[in-house]
């Protein structure tokens, strides 16, 4: 029973996709939205139901092999799904956020003046199906299948406004950068298969346990690095963080979905899923933790300097997922997944509320123009404020606080370098509170309500943001049990001093935001500019794109083919030399004899060989054309050309034939 339900979780999303794409008759806008919501809702209900069953009965992991994918030559790739605490937490989160975002989009998008939403809901459904495949997969090939579908859908979703060049470019950049990680991940999968002969996760973990625990090798580190690179690129972590801010070109619901529980969070999930593998590989844990910390701090500072509310939220995502990577690297996947859950709630709430606030301000996204949001649309403002408190980790009253405490505790417990990681995370936590407070305060600022503004939220929009805000505040008590179920401690084991600092850091951040709002901010324009640009994102992007462009430029015009043609051009030149040599050696004779023929032939060949142009085929073609023109009316141009060309080809072939016959004999 449970197995059958497990296999069915992605089905509603897939059916919704197929119906939206393939239904032969036109659908009403309302019907499109309903179909999309039903698709997401069906999958979400199944996932939540199964999760409830799993936690209620305390049963162990269940596995189901839906179908064989490829079984040949030693490979047995199965479309196998697994439901354990980790999949339960992740699929439940994906389902809830997914259905709320789709419900919101069904009302929000038409009010933005967008039409032809069928494609949008079809893509969202397929995207969710892919994400369910990722979080449920129990086989690397099945996981990769979902992983790539998510990437493809994100490309079309970010580029949804297909007429805008900026959207097309942002979509392309996102796809290319994440695909670099995908290629490395596939290489990692191939290397794992070459080493252990299986793609099934349970078998793989067993084999790794036996092979790597004793004495890990360089190969183990290399494979771990490949997997880590895949996760970093998908999650827009350092050094792959260049694509995320531009991805804001997508519509607001798309940004909410991509940033909250799916796509970007998939990298963190991957590392949690493959924890037995990455923890056994030498050095990978430390690399994950430090790169995560770099993302958490650097992107936090970048968020602090942003002027556009969506870009601020984008950088905030990089930063928050950095916290998850930090916990994963520190060997606390439970803490990472707890933060995964709370982050999904508050980040989705922030994006969706920002969409409302922005619309009420006449599609304004600049923070310094969004003041007065509270008077224009209290709902959007209060949800944003509540979610910003959760993001900043306001002590005790928000979910974000509890999950961040778990991350801090995990960092502190990460061996000898733990205290350093912990200190960095505390700083990042303070920065988080500072930019979250800054954004909320910018919205709270005075400012007159816009004349005749009546763009208040609709029922579905209001419901979606209220539910998310409630989760962002109220999920706190769930963080501990989630962490414990996935793996790790339920309560942060911190000394009183460390715990106190953990509470003080967000408070300090919020205070800094308040001081800055009151005009007490220190001025550091150069640092701010560097941070706003994401600390050299443009430079990285320029270097990579420039390097690639140089490579493409180097091969433009197909030098290898030209080289072959030039090489072939040497054949008539050589023949001309031989022929003229033979003719010279024969001495003067009466005209008309075979010698004259040979001489004339040699002259022709020499002329042909010295003709301008580096391409034998071009010259052949010119010769053919000239010859054909000379033949005039007797033979058609094309026919003559064909004959000559055929002869020329045959001649070269015959030469090779002789060569080959000689060599074989």
């Amino acid at each position: 029973m449970a197995e059958a339900l497990l296999a069915l979780i992605p089905a509603p999303a897939l059916i919704g996709f197929a119906l939206l794409l393939g239904w032969p008759a036109p659908l009403s806008a309302r019907m499109e939205g309903r179909l999309g919501a039903a698709a997401a809702g069906g999958s979400a209900a199944l996932a939540l139901g199964l999760a409830a069953w799993l936690f209620a009965t305390g049963s162990g992991a269940i596995r189901v092999e839906v179908a064989p994918f490829v079984v040949t030559g030693g490979l047995e790739a199965m479309l196998a799904l697994r439901f354990d605490a980790l999949s339960a937490v992740a699929s439940g989160t994906v389902g809830v956020v997914g259905v709320l975002v789709v419900l919101y989009a069904a009302e929000f998008m038409p009010r933005e003046g967008e039409t032809r939403l069928r494609r949008l809901f079809a893509l969202l459904s397929l995207f969710l199906a892919g994400m369910f495949a990722v979080v449920l997969a129990d086989d690397l090939v099945a996981l990769f299948l979902g992983w790539e579908i998510v990437g493809l859908c994100s490309y079309f979703l970010i580029g949804w406004r297909s007429r805008e060049a900026a959207a097309a470019d942002a979509a392309r950049q996102a796809f290319v950068v994440t695909r670099i990680g995908d290629a490395l991940l596939l290489a990692g999968i191939a290397a794992l298969f070459a080493r252990f002969g299986t793609t099934s996760l349970p078998e793989l973990f067993g084999a790794v346990e036996g092979a790597w625990r004793g004495g890990a090798t360089l190969a183990a580190g290399a494979i771990g690095a490949l997997v880590l690179a895949g996760a970093l690129a998908k999650s827009a972590q350092v050094p792959f963080h260049v694509w995320l801010p531009d991805a804001m070109a997508g519509p607001t619901p798309v940004s909410a979905l991509l940033h909250a529980a799916t796509m970007v969070a998939a990298g963190a999930f991957l590392l949690a899923r493959l924890a037995p593998l990455t923890e056994a590989a030498p050095g990978i844990g430390a690399a994950t933790a430090w790169l995560g910390l770099a993302g958490a701090l650097g992107a936090g500072l970048a968020a602090l300097a942003q002027r556009d509310v969506k870009r601020l939220l984008a950088w905030s995502t990089v930063s928050q997922i950095g916290f998850m990577f930090l916990a994963l690297g520190a060997g606390a996947p439970g803490a990472a997944m707890a933060h995964f859950v709370t982050h999904a709630a508050f980040k989705a709430a922030l994006f969706l509320a920002a969409g409302l606030v922005s619309r009420e301000a006449g599609h304004e996204r600049r923070l310094d123009r969004l003041g007065g949001a509270r008077r224009r649309g209290p709902l959007g403002f209060w949800v944003f404020a509540a979610a910003a408190l959760a993001l900043g980790g306001a002590p005790w009253v928000t979910a974000g606080f509890w999950s961040k405490e778990l991350v801090l505790a995990g960092a502190l417990g990460a061996g000898p370098l733990g205290p350093a990681l912990w200190a960095g995370a505390v700083a990042a936590s303070a920065v988080t509170a500072a930019y979250a407070g800054r954004a909320a305060l910018a919205l709270a600022r005075g400012g007159a309500p816009r004349e005749g503004a009546t763009d208040g939220p609709g029922a579905a929009e209001a419901a979606a943001v209220l539910v998310l805000a409630a989760l962002a505040l109220g999920l706190g008590p769930a963080a501990g049990p989630v962490a414990e179920a996935v793996g790790g401690a339920a309560t942060p084991h911190l000394g009183a001093a460390a715990a106190g600092i953990g509470v003080a850091a967000p408070l300090a951040g919020f205070s800094a935001a308040l001081l800055a709002e009151a005009g007490w901010a220190p001025r550091a324009p150069r640092l701010a500019a560097a941070a706003r640009g994401g600390f050299g994102v443009d430079a990285i992007r320029g270097a990579v794109a420039g390097g690639f462009g140089r490579m493409v430029h180097a091969v433009s015009g197909d030098p290898l083919a030209r080289g072959m043609h030039a090489l072939a051009g040497g054949v008539p030149r050589l023949a001309a030399t031989f022929a003229s040599g033979a003719a010279d050696g024969a001495g003067p004779r009466a005209p008309g004899g075979p010698e004259a023929w040979r001489r004339r032939g040699a002259e022709r060949l020499a002329r042909f060989a010295r003709a301008p142009g580096d391409d034998l085929l071009d010259r052949l073609w010119r010769g053919v054309a000239a010859g054909a023109a000379g033949m005039g009316r007797m033979a058609g141009r094309a026919q003559g050309g064909r004959l000559r060309g055929y002869l020329a080809g045959s001649a070269i072939g015959a030469a090779l034939l002789l060569l080959l016959g000689w060599a074989a004999a």
Binding site: F69, V70, V71, T72, G73, G74, V141, F144, L145, E148, I149, Y155, S162, R163, A165, A167, A168, R172, F175, V176, R179, I180, D182, A183, L184, L186, A187, I189, A190, A191, F193, A194, F548, M551, V552, H553, V555, D558, L560, A561, M564, L617, D618, L620, W621, G641, R642, G645, Y646, A648, G649, S650, I652, G653, L656, L657, L660, A663, A664, A665
Partner: protein
């Protein structure tokens, strides 16, 4: 008998087209086009029947046919088909039908000759896929050039005559090396024999085997094409009419791949093991070089042409990885590339018929003006970038998995194709699907184009989601290659 029928059916059907035109005239030459479609449908049905065991076969082959012909010089009509051969024959017939549908608008003049050439290409390619007498094989091999040449030279665009000539010279040079190798082999045996199975038993010195392998492979590598002998492909693909591009990419390139897959392991297994590392490196070079070149194109059709170089590099690499997974991947990739590249040529051809160009700066905005064509572009571009769920992923992933087992650096290099393919596929989409629509209205795909696209999309998805069916069809051929190579390495 069914195999002889497979060769005769498109031939007779093609030769009957002038009669159709004469006795059943119709507007826009509809009878000729419909008759060609009928021939292709019958051919496909016959091939599928053979796949399901309608032919008289034995355990190894689904269908066999032997008739002595010129037995004094060792020539006989020896045809055999297993899942690989008959699968490719079915594919050829299907793409013949797709080409006919794709040229409905494009070809208005000399319609009979055009369809005769389609039938001729199908006949010759079918002969190539089924012949096991090497002289017969060479006969069909050379026979493919003539109709393909006419298709490009008479019905193409741009510098079509030059491109056709280039195509001919390249393939003629390669073909002559093949003839030389076959003649040297057959005449070298006593008594003279050209039957591939008999030739497989002949003892040869390692040097002779190596030279013969290189001679034979020259033709296959040109047709595949491998770098650096791919120079004919971009021009021929770009200047050919849509049907020509579809048949070139979908069928002719596959004959090169098929030849490499089938004959070297059968005839010169030791020599094949010897050259394998170089051939794999050549395959990787093709993957990367073709991919990079595709990223720099400004012409949509030329871009697709260069992606063929990249994808066929996977086939070359898979064949010479000498490992069951990679070999299976190479065979699947042959089919996958045939579907996706043909379909992309179909869509670009449809655009050309409407806008008169395939320069990318003149296309664009299809999402707004022609959503069906845009959907076709998006789907088949996703196939070209080896999205899981499409046939191309199965082929390329199996090649990468298999290559990692024997030479991981080459596998890592091949994985880079995943990035290159996204760069060129999104370049194509950015300039077609995305962007502001041009001033001229673009009519969306008509019923015929939509039907052809849907059929190819279905093929891509079926193989992509249920690859096991195709893989099981290809396994006997794959295992035969494995046995031949094993015997060679065991004996040596």
């Amino acid at each position: 008998m069914i195999l002889v029928g497979l060769i005769l059916l498109p031939l007779i059907g093609g030769l009957a087209l002038p009669l159709v035109a004469r006795f059943a005239p119709g507007a826009e030459d509809r009878p000729v086009r419909l008759a060609t479609l009928g021939v292709m449908a019958a051919q496909a049905a016959l091939a599928v029947a053979a796949l399901f065991g309608a032919g008289a076969g034995d355990g190894r082959w689904l269908a066999l046919h032997r008739t002595p012909w010129a037995s004094g010089v060792g020539i006989e009509l020896h045809l055999a088909g297993d899942g690989l051969s008959l699968g490719l024959v079915t594919l050829t017939a299907a793409l013949g039908a797709v080409s006919t549908l794709a040229s409905w608008r494009e070809i208005r003049r000399r319609v009979v000759l055009f369809h005769l050439c389609i039938c001729g290409t199908v006949t010759a390619a079918t002969g190539v896929f089924l012949s096991f007498d090497l002289l017969l094989f060479v006969f069909f091999w050379e026979g493919m050039l003539v109709p393909a040449f006419i298709l490009i030279a008479l019905y193409g665009h741009g510098a079509r005559e030059r491109s056709a000539l280039k195509f001919l010279i390249y393939n003629q040079v390669g073909g002559l090396a093949l003839i030389a190798a076959v003649l040297a082999m057959g005449a070298g045996a006593s008594p003279p024999v050209f039957d591939a199975f008999a030739l497989a038993e002949v003892e040869r010195s390692p040097a002779a085997a190596l030279w013969l392998l290189l001679g034979m492979s020259a033709a296959f590598l040109v047709k595949l094409p491998a770098v650096p002998v791919h120079g004919w492909l971009p021009d021929a693909h770009t200047d050919a009419p849509t049907a020509g591009s579809i048949l070139l990419a979908g069928v002719l390139l596959k004959t090169g791949a098929y030849g490499l897959y089938r004959f070297p392991p059968m005839l010169f297994p030791e020599a094949m093991v010897q050259v394998a590392p170089y051939a794999m490196a050549l395959g990787l070079a093709g993957i990367l070089y073709g991919g990079l070149l595709a990223c720099g194109q400004t012409d949509a059709k030329r871009l697709i042409a260069y992606t063929s170089v990249s994808h066929m590099g996977f086939v070359l690499m898979g064949i010479f990885a000498l490992n069951p997974l990679a070999r299976t991947g190479a065979a699947v990739e042959m089919f996958a590339h045939a579907f996706s590249a043909s379909a992309l040529f179909l869509v670009v051809g449809a655009l050309h018929a409407r806008l008169g160009t395939h320069r990318m700066d003149a296309l664009g905005g299809l999402q707004a003006t022609a959503p069906r064509l845009a959907g076709g572009f998006a789907f088949f571009a996703a196939a070209a970038l080896a999205m899981p769920g499409t046939a191309n992923f199965v082929g390329e992933a199996l090649v990468i998995l298999g290559t990692f087992q024997v030479a991981w650096p080459l596998g890592l290099g091949a994985a880079a194709a995943l990035v290159l393919s996204v760069v060129y596929a999104t370049l194509l989409l950015r300039n077609t699907v995305f962007g502001e629509p041009g001033t001229r209205p673009t009519e969306d795909a008509d019923l015929r184009e939509a039907a052809a696209m849907l059929a190819l999309a279905a093929a891509v998805l079926v193989v992509g989601l249920q690859p096991q069916m195709l893989i099981e069809l290809l396994t006997p051929a794959q295992e035969a290659v494995g046995r031949a190579l094993e015997a060679a390495s065991g004996g040596g």
